[in-house]
């Protein structure tokens, strides 16, 4: 390995077989290049899928009303349930010890929204200050609704980033601008961003304002809670299921609904969805492992094939060297040392190029279900090692056979 004479012999061979060396190197380098790019995109797709599912706070629990479907205590089926402030407040105090954040919500309908002369067709929702932590809109500018707004029935609005982009093109920042909702001016105090455009087309106002100004009375459309995070996933699910059941029981009693009437109201827990989603990502991981392994196998076959061809081409040379008194090991060792050298150099060149490309292009990829395609250096590095090892093995067998048995054959006249 550290024999200078042998390295001289190897560099001699490489120098005098530039084309062969170049072609071998090129095919190995491009093989590894493609492999790493594929692995990177596999990772990117995995990131993308996870990203699509991982949005709203996962411990959140939502309740919204429906229509009764069963007769109960003398009440007819087909009755529309309406939640009111009292329901929310009672639930809030009943479950005070397990709730982290809480917010009622009201959808404001049939109102005209104007900014200057422009009519805006966006939905308006009345929420409380905690809502920011439940649905998780990220503030881009300004602030969210705060407690003070709720108490003082403040006429403030938080708009989505898309609305800012669509409407407020003339001003640097929409903060401090006023929009008219049913003729009442609301001051914009914040801009939020969401992951989906659709969720950015919303205007949030304080729930108290929504109820007072738009004749909401004490009605609310739905209510949402989050539970404090728990380390253990199964415990978190159990906690969510427990809370869900208690909340449903309370709401059913408060509205005189049969305990088995599922249509009257819906209580939904993100945790249970998350459980399904975690199962899904598990499957996706397995799938991408499978794809990755298949890609590596393809790479191994490719590199091994190149090695086979190189050794086949040198069979005669092996025979000559043997006739001149070379020991089988020294011939095979030299040819493999040369191959490993060429493969390693070109392999790592391909690795550097492909990782560089992923590094530069990766973060800029904006396609659904593909997010930041990248590959961990360790994975890529070991991939290259696996390919070199496989190529060496593939080259070793025919080289050894040629050196061991086929001297007479290889020297025969062709």
């Amino acid at each position: 390995m550290f024999d200078i004479e042998r390295w001289q012999e190897i560099f001699d061979t490489i120098r005098k077989n530039k084309l062969r060396t170049f072609l071998t190197g090129l095919s190995v380098a491009s093989g590894i290049f493609i492999l790493v790019i594929l692995l990177g995109f596999g990772q990117g797709m995995q990131n993308g899928v996870e990203h699509e599912f991982k949005e709203d706070a996962t411990t959140s629990i939502w309740a919204w009303p429906g229509v009764t479907s069963k007769e109960f205590k003398g009440l007819n089926p087909g009755r529309r349930i309406q939640f009111i402030n009292e329901n929310f407040e009672t639930a809030s105090s009943m479950f005070n010890d397990v709730i982290e954040y809480e917010s009622p919500r009201i959808f404001v309908r049939d109102v005209n929204v104007n900014y200057g002369k422009e009519a805006l067709v966006y939905s308006i929702q009345g929420v409380s200050s905690d809502f920011q932590f439940i649905e998780g809109p990220v503030m881009r500018e300004g602030r969210f609704i705060n407690y003070q707004d709720e108490v003082s029935i403040g006429k403030v609005a938080i708009i989505g980033n898309k609305i800012k982009k669509d409407v407020f093109t003339d001003v640097d920042s929409p903060l401090g601008e006023f929009i008219d909702i049913s003729g009442i001016p609301f001051k914009i105090v914040g801009v939020f961003g969401e992951m989906r455009d659709r969720e950015e087309e919303r205007i949030y106002i304080p729930i108290t304002t929504a109820q007072r100004v738009f004749n909401g009375g004490n009605r609310i459309n739905n209510m949402s809670f989050t539970l404090p995070p728990v380390e253990n996933f199964d415990e978190a699910v159990a906690q969510a299921v427990d809370f869900k059941k208690n909340l449903r029981t309370y709401l059913q009693q408060a509205h005189t609904v049969a305990p088995d009437d599922n249509g009257a109201m819906e209580v939904w827990s993100a945790m249970e969805e998350a459980k399904r989603y975690y199962g899904l990502t598990g499957n996706i991981k397995i799938f991408f492992w499978f794809v990755g392994i298949c890609t590596i196998i393809a790479g191994v076959v490719g590199v091994s094939n190149i090695m086979l061809i190189v050794v086949r081409e040198r069979t005669r040379e092996i025979g000559i060297r043997k006739a001149l008194g070379a020991k089988p090991w020294s011939i095979v060792g030299m040819i493999l040392q040369e191959s490993i050298f060429v493969t390693a150099i070109s392999g790592f060149t391909g690795l550097i190029f492909s990782m560089g490309l992923l590094e530069i292009v990766g973060p800029n990829v904006e396609v659904d279900y593909v997010v930041n395609p990248s590959v961990s250096f360790n994975v890529a590095f070991s991939t290259v090692l696996v390919l070199i090892l496989a190529g060496t093995l593939a080259g070793f067998v025919p080289a050894w056979r040629a050196a061991k048995v086929q001297v007479v054959e290889s020297l025969k006249d062709e």
Partner: protein, 233 residues
């Protein structure tokens, strides 16, 4: 120098085996120049391969310079080949990406001779075969006769005890053949033992002794009066 007794060799060809050498007895002293003749299939190439330790015999004894050649490990065989034998082939078998000088220096590399000394020695042997000016040329830039002379220089560079030439003139025209034979005769004059496998009568008569092989046995072994090749050159 070389002594073989009752040598047998057969090859497996699918289900049936082909008996190629059927008991060869042969002895060659130091300084001999022996031609081994025979039609194709007579077993002469097989005999040469066994003499060259490129192939093993099934049974029989083979002694080279007093050393019994039997059940050698690959490594041992390689050492003996390097020390005792020089090969010249019909198709020259030069390594095509190496210059004439590097080809000649190659057996010295396997003897562990340092680079500088290798090149000096190789150049000396190239000069001996009259190709000093062609030292840096690749085999593809040489004529057939020149290639064979490089191959002979390569075989001699290791200073072997026996030179084995397998149809050394088989790929050459007659004038070039005589030039090569002239070289072989001169090397023999210096006291080297040489075995030449050939099927050409005139080439055989340029040796000192002719051994006829037929169907795996020696049918004739006679000393001849050597025809000097230089008279044709």
């Amino acid at each position: 120098m070389i002594e073989i007794k009752d040598l047998h060799k057969s090859y497996k060809m699918g289900s049936n085996s082909l008996h190629v050498l059927k008991g060869i007895n042969f002895k060659a002293d130091a300084g001999e120049l022996v031609a081994i003749m025979g039609s194709s299939g007579s077993g002469k190439s097989t005999l040469l391969n066994i003499l060259g330790m490129l192939d093993g015999a099934d049974s029989g004894e083979y002694t080279l310079d007093g050393v019994p050649i039997k059940d050698l490990s690959e490594t041992k065989a390689a050492q003996y080949r390097n020390k005792f034998l020089g090969f010249v082939f019909q198709s020259f078998n030069l390594i095509n990406y190496k210059s004439a000088l590097e080809n000649v220096a190659l057996p010295l590399y396997y003897q562990g001779v340092p680079r500088r000394e290798r090149q000096e020695k190789a150049l000396h042997y190239l000069e001996k075969v009259g190709l000093k000016e062609w030292a840096t040329h690749l085999p593809s830039e040489l004529s057939g006769g020149q290639k064979q002379r490089v191959a002979i220089a390569r075989a001699m560079a290791a200073e072997p005890k026996v030179l084995l030439a397998d149809e050394p003139t088989g790929a050459l025209d007659s004038t070039t053949s005589y030039e090569v034979m002239d070289l072989i005769q001169k090397i023999n004059d210096e006291g080297n033992t040489i075995l030449v496998v050939t099927h050409e009568e005139d080439i055989a008569h340029m040796c000192k002794r002719i051994v006829h092989l037929k169907d795996g046995v020696i049918v004739e072994d006679k000393k001849v009066k050597q025809v000097r090749a230089d008279q044709y050159v």
